[in-house]
Amino acid sequence: MFKYIKQLTSLVAMVAVLFTFTTESMAAKKSKTLKNTQKKGFVRCGVSQGLPGFSNADAAGNWTGVDVDVCRAVAAAVLGDANKVKFTPLSAKERFTALTSGEIDILSRNTTWTLSRDADIGLTFVGVNFYDGQGFMVRKSSGITSTSQFKNGISACTNIGTTTELNMRDFFNSKGISYEPVAFEKADEVVAAYDAGRCDTYTTDKSGLAAQRTKMKNPDEHIVLPETISKEPLGPVVRQGDAVWEDIVRWSLNTMIEAEEYGITSANADMMKTSDNPAIKRLVGAEGELGAAFGLDNDWSLRIIKQVGNYGESYKRNIADTGILPDRGPNQLWTKGGILYVPPAR
């Protein structure tokens, strides 16, 4: 009896060792997060609780927005289907904990890239999908047209748990203006309180102001002041410690931007396979072995472009055509006067 048990144990041990070896060699190419994602069959993506243009769900529960498109691009790359994403709406307060605790694998929720967030709390920012800055919204009837008209005692509505709270303090302190910060947990409540007249001004990222303005009772009664008081590079975030997954998310985003640069769209992507330009051919998977570096097939980038579109298409569909920010401003390609510039895919 005991003899058998002994034999069985050694057999189990051998199998275990063998198994470890095989997975070990795979893990070099395949990350743990990638493996889990492929096993589950969907990408777990953290988004906002509703910010038009960035991540917003319609009545049927379909998510749209430029932040959403980053997650869809990753799903198209690793799973072959841009719709295989499970979206988790998160408040500003919950977002990092959800990511570090492993509830989600990508946080694509208009999140500002800062040093302390990148270095301190176990996160890695993979890039910037929207260059933003903090601004102020006021009622048109107030007659305020510039932040220089702000006076002592002004009350400002905003969200908690954001860089906004810190920028606001820096701004008002530098101007020597005393102010009343009214900070809510959810954006909808900020909008409701500001709309009711509780606050004189509403401050957050300018893209957010433009998006929330569309939710107001009467959007035309409000204006966004021209001043920008901070730099807010927004981008997707992943957990620290999975370099391959980090690369996949980074290059999924980069692919979208580079595709726009080379004029590859969801409509013409297949035709581009026969292009004369090797850079274009690499992007649509007709040349080189770019996917192998992540443990993906060679059509990963083609799928992103075909299913999600390039960055310009995503911007137009979500932000420009919805009337939120028709002018791309800094979020224009570097070749067209903006600051969107990504490393080459080669």
């Binding site: 500003a92 307060k93 990092f96 904990t97 570090t100 605790s101 302390s116 967030r117 301190d120 709390i121 176990g122 006021v138 009622r139 009837s141 107030s142 007659g143 305020i144 008209q149 702000f150 006076k151 005692g153 002004i154 009350s155 509505c157 908690i160 748990g161 954001t162 709270e165 810190l166 606001m168 303090r169 302190n173 102010y179 009343e180 910060p181 009214v182 900070a183 809510f184 947990e185 959810k186 409540e189 409701a192 309180a193 009711a196 007249g197 509780r198 004189d200 957990r239 620290q240 410690g241």
Partner: protein, 383 residues
């Protein structure tokens, strides 16, 4: 020996299991945090917080430490809890007694109030008082003055500020009144026990409360003036009041909803307590010639209180814990300031959540101890 072992072993196993479970979670958290490069430590508490808070009982701005921000949140939580408990108790007692009133209208109205407010979720009530009631309030420039000096606006309730001169003398006069009342009460009790005479302690103390502070004004050099809020224009359509004291609408809405909600439960406790005293007690007291007032004060209430206090303690605890719903309407309580903003700015989730949990635990236990002490004091002394 065997018998003893049987007693000890299950307890020992329980203790070991609890220790193991906690140990496992601590270990697991440590490993996970190490893997993700998150540091653990409470050092951040002394760092500069660099965010401002809307409403604070102590001096605070972003140049103070996170620990000070914690204190700001804690004091705001205590403030809303204490005001809430006081209003809820007063309202609860009134409604509880009203439910026993022989008057049909009063009785039914009290019953309606209890059933209505205790059956609507508290968060919904908070939103109602904040968003629905807030929208109905006028803008500062349209506000009508109440009694000429109060202004209730969408931006808050503005009340005149007291400006004292020689406040300490006034304060001492109040202390003197309290000491005098206690002395007179003790003396009156002695006189009643020895000679059977009753001294009108209540009337005397009322008199003292008026006379002594008045004297402090007349001869003590105490001066009191008021600073009335004045409307100030910020922009064409944007106004505030300056001077005086401003109570933010968040505080008002939260206190109102917490008190109205908890008062329904206290009212039921009070009703149960009064109904729990035997009818015979009241009749017996009346038959020995006590006035209705004395019956209530000397016979009914002392017995009813014993039934009322324990469940009311629960309601006080509930109110304190429910105050954490403040985060929904921007009242800067402990959860919003510390477990909200501070947590986000530092990323120290485990540390901050543990401190917050421990704080609520301490608050609740303090209330429990206080109420248990009072309960013991009024309990029947068995001889």
């Amino acid at each position: 020996m065997n018998f003893k072992l049987k007693d000890i072993v299950p307890q020992l196993i329980t203790v070991i299991a609890v220790v193991l479970i906690f140990g496992f979670f601590t270990y697991n958290a440590q490993i996970n945090m190490e893997n993700r490069g998150i540091d653990f430590g409470y050092g951040f508490l002394s760092q500069e917080s660099s965010f401002d808070v809307q409403f604070s009982l102590i001096e605070y701005d972003g140049s103070h430490s996170y620990f000070r921000a914690y204190l700001v949140g804690l004091l705001n939580t205590i403030l809303v809890s204490v005001i809430g408990i006081i209003i809820a108790t007063i309202l609860g007692v009134i409604v509880g007694v009203a439910r026993l009133s022989p008057n049909y209208l009063i009785n039914k109205f009290a019953a309606f109030y209890v059933e209505f407010f205790r059956n609507i979720p508290l968060l919904l009530q908070i939103f109602f008082w904040y968003f629905a009631a807030l929208r109905a309030l006028p803008l500062p420039q349209d506000a009508e003055a109440m009694f000429g000096v109060f202004f209730l606006t969408i931006k808050g309730l503005y009340v005149p500020a007291f400006i004292w001169q020689n406040f300490n003398i006034f304060f001492y006069s109040i202390i003197a009144v309290i000491i005098a009342t206690i002395v007179i009460k003790t003396y009156a009790k002695k006189v009643q026990e020895n000679q059977g005479k009753q001294i009108p302690v209540f009337l005397i103390s009322i008199g003292l409360i008026f006379i002594l502070p008045l004297l402090s004004f007349l001869i003590g050099g105490v001066r009191l003036s008021f600073e009335v809020p004045v409307l100030k224009q910020l922009a064409t359509t944007s106004f505030i009041y300056e001077g005086g004291v401003s109570l933010p609408p968040e505080l008002i809405a939260l206190t109102l909803s917490l008190s109205l909600y908890t008062a329904t439960f206290i009212a039921e406790c009070v009703r149960a307590g009064i109904q729990g005293v035997g009818k015979g007690q009241k009749e017996a007291a009346a038959s020995i010639g006590l006035t209705p007032n004395q019956v209530l004060k000397l016979v009914i209430m002392p017995q009813a209180l014993r039934i009322i206090i324990p469940p009311t303690t629960n309601q006080y605890l509930n109110l304190t814990k429910n105050s954490s719903l403040a985060a929904a309407i921007a009242y800067p309580d402990l959860v919003l300031v510390f477990a909200g903003t501070a947590l986000m700015q530092t990323g120290k989730a485990i540390e901050i959540v543990s401190i917050t949990m421990f704080t609520y635990l301490t608050l609740s236990i303090s209330i429990s101890i206080l109420m248990n002490w009072y309960n013991k004091k009024i309990a029947i002394e068995e001889k």
